[in-house]
Symmetry: D2
Subunit: 240 residues, 4 copies
């Protein structure tokens, strides 16, 4: 399995406080979490917005794309976002982290505004499992706490997830569908909200495990491309 962890990599270079938490960039820490859990099972590389082709030149060689973005959503080329969308529909897995709910590719794949309630805060977030039989919940306790987090709350303007795995609460009393599975075309998508540039969320064991589980889930299985003579949106013979 070939995994690419993509990061806009802007906060960490501009802001001392963020750099103090993620000196090598959020992508490096997320990639490390995946390697720790999947070991030989995955080849993990990183890519950033400033790379050639905005780091998206090898989508065809990517089985799972993990995406972190925030300030740079508009800097991603429309054409690149469209390619990511198409690759997901063709079977690539996509893990969308935190503020990437407004990334161009995710918004295109959802078809909705993807807005949410928001407050910059020092809230405690509790993450509750509501689908205990789901592979993404494997090894995760019924509830875990993230001591400091930005608040993301409902209404989260997404289609109803195909499978809802986690719901979070915040000190302010808000709730949020924080772990959401979607199937689109031949691909799978997992959105996971925990993770903020100024808090060490991606060092937390439960969060790392969820991300690794999600990489496995968005990758696994699924049908081979349709056989040429079964191609869609074209005349088809009578099946016999």
């Amino acid at each position: 399995m070939r995994v690419t962890v993509w990061n806009e990599y802007i906060h960490e270079r501009r802001d001392d406080a963020v750099r103090a938490v993620y000196p090598d960039g959020i992508h490096t820490e997320v990639a490390s979490a995946i390697r720790d859990h999947l070991g030989e099972g995955a080849t993990v590389v990183t890519a950033v917005l400033d790379d050639p082709d905005q780091g998206l030149g090898n989508l065809d060689g990517t089985d799972v794309l993990v995406w972190w973005g925030h300030l740079g959503h508009e800097l991603v080329a429309d054409e690149a976002a469209a390619r990511v969308q198409q690759r997901v529909l063709d079977g690539m897995g996509l893990v969308v982290l935190h503020s990437a709910h407004l990334s161009k590719s995710f918004v295109r794949l959802m078809g909705t505004g993807c807005h949410l309630r928001w407050r910059e805060a020092d809230d405690r977030e509790l993450v509750w499992t509501v689908s205990p039989s789901h592979p993404i919940a494997e090894g995760i306790p019924p509830v875990f706490s993230i001591p400091q987090q930005e608040m993301y709350g409902e209404y989260f303007d997404i289609p109803a997830p195909d499978e809802l795995v986690f719901i979070s609460s915040f000190t302010g009393g808000e709730v949020f569908r924080s772990g959401c599975c979607f199937r689109r075309g031949r691909g799978r998508i997992f959105y996971f909200s925990p993770g903020h540039e100024t808090y060490p969320v991606y060092y937390q064991a439960e969060v790392r495990r969820v991300i690794a589980n999600a990489v496995l889930w968005v990758h696994g299985g699924g049908q081979s491309p349709l056989h040429p003579d079964e191609s869609i949106e074209s005349p088809t013979g009578w099946y016999e």
Copy 2:
């Protein structure tokens, strides 16, 4: 539309504190909420466990059954619970309130344990809408607060709802899928957790509106019984 509000009617007769809140029984107040909103649109009657046939002698004449129970779940006859289940499968609407998550009929219709996390408490409950296009959310603000409530929390051991309308949070940080729609056979079910015998929850405007909306939703529409010569689980001719 003929609505029956059923209540075991035990707490209110045993316990002064409960009777102080619901002197005529929870069923009376819930029925009043439905009448206030639906007016001429519904004929609302009440029934209690001590009635002849445990108050369930006229299920065939009932379009929507609203159920409140807690201490008396085991007192309801298995045969009666089976009849309620069958009537739902045949098209009767069912609104299940608060502690009726463990009522025999609901447990049979869900097929799961229907357990949940629980704490007797004075928590503030916030109820958040997560399906703003749903008829049961009509007229309900994006969030409303119930000042005092018992805590019901995840994991709530139900099948994933066909439509999830509300998620609640509690002072303790717990979350709960508090408004859940299910379709079973030709019938519809809505589970709504707010409401406790010692707090005046059923006097609150938003709660009353949700219950009335739910009565409309579980009732509305749906297919007539299958035509006799289309009966299921029997040989069927070739359709031409």
Copy 3:
């Protein structure tokens, strides 16, 4: 309820065979079906691609938009398609008919390719109800037959519908999810595949009833716009 039936209105003007079936345009017949069923309950107008603003100048005054298109998908302005999408997210109902599965607005709302298997044919289509409690199935028999139809088959590249109401089979043995409900933002969408320009499908009683039911369903209920001080994607105070 203000309903607009939109049609590209190209086939009927170009092709004698189509004009013979729909002399006043498909939109006129679909509008008539809705008026027949909803009577005073709806004000139904029609609009076509050649109208000013491509017939989409009054979306704000439209509660439900019914869309028929095929040859002219690419002629609809991107800006107009984006406005339709946004109006749905803001609460307008949308009924998408037959070949409009590839209309720009629907594709944007789905986020997928919306392709399907296809054969120009004289197949008999059988439409089976798989959600008998759904309002869109009200008054519809367990199965009905359309004597002549173009074949639309799986795989239909859409997100899993929030509610699946009808599945069709064709003489060739293909199957198709032919009646699909989606909730997006504050709006609702119903896709219904029966209906082809060269067959008199829109004169058939069951099809007319389904379309009228769908108009009611996509319109009904739902939450008022969020209160200004509850606006999404902006800082929000602590809720108390």
Copy 4:
């Protein structure tokens, strides 16, 4: 992974025509299909109704139970059916084959009648994939044909599946949701309709692959039992 293939084993002993197809019983052939695909990955045993404890004495040592039944549904003890249900809720996977849609355990887990339209016939069944990204569809073509089959048709009286993987059509024009995923408690269930005692369906490569995929899917992942001090339906401390 410890897999038990359970069969009532009645048809094959009573009826020469069935024995000619499955001389060692359907269970033996289904077990062979699973072994062929999973190899060392699974320990597969068989059990039949006439075994001690009706073949259900070692549920605690079973990770995945595959169930075939038809004539003997009523012979299975209520207590045994309840134990199967509970084990699923506790995390055991369950694969339900063909006429086991009316097995006591499945009916209890669904909460509905589980009836379906039916015709003893020599229909050709076409099985279409409608969720190409699903692990159970891995390696399965977009459509495959079963030359001779009994007809099972809609309306199939089950809850809407959590994931719908296959839809079948029959020569008679009927359709059927033939591959259905359900999550219940900590367990997963897959219902797969192809397979009849008088046709050699379980020798067909695609069917064998689907069953093996299903065994993997119902088994995989999921959360460990709740920690004792997190036990459900009991007072819970404030989470900090």
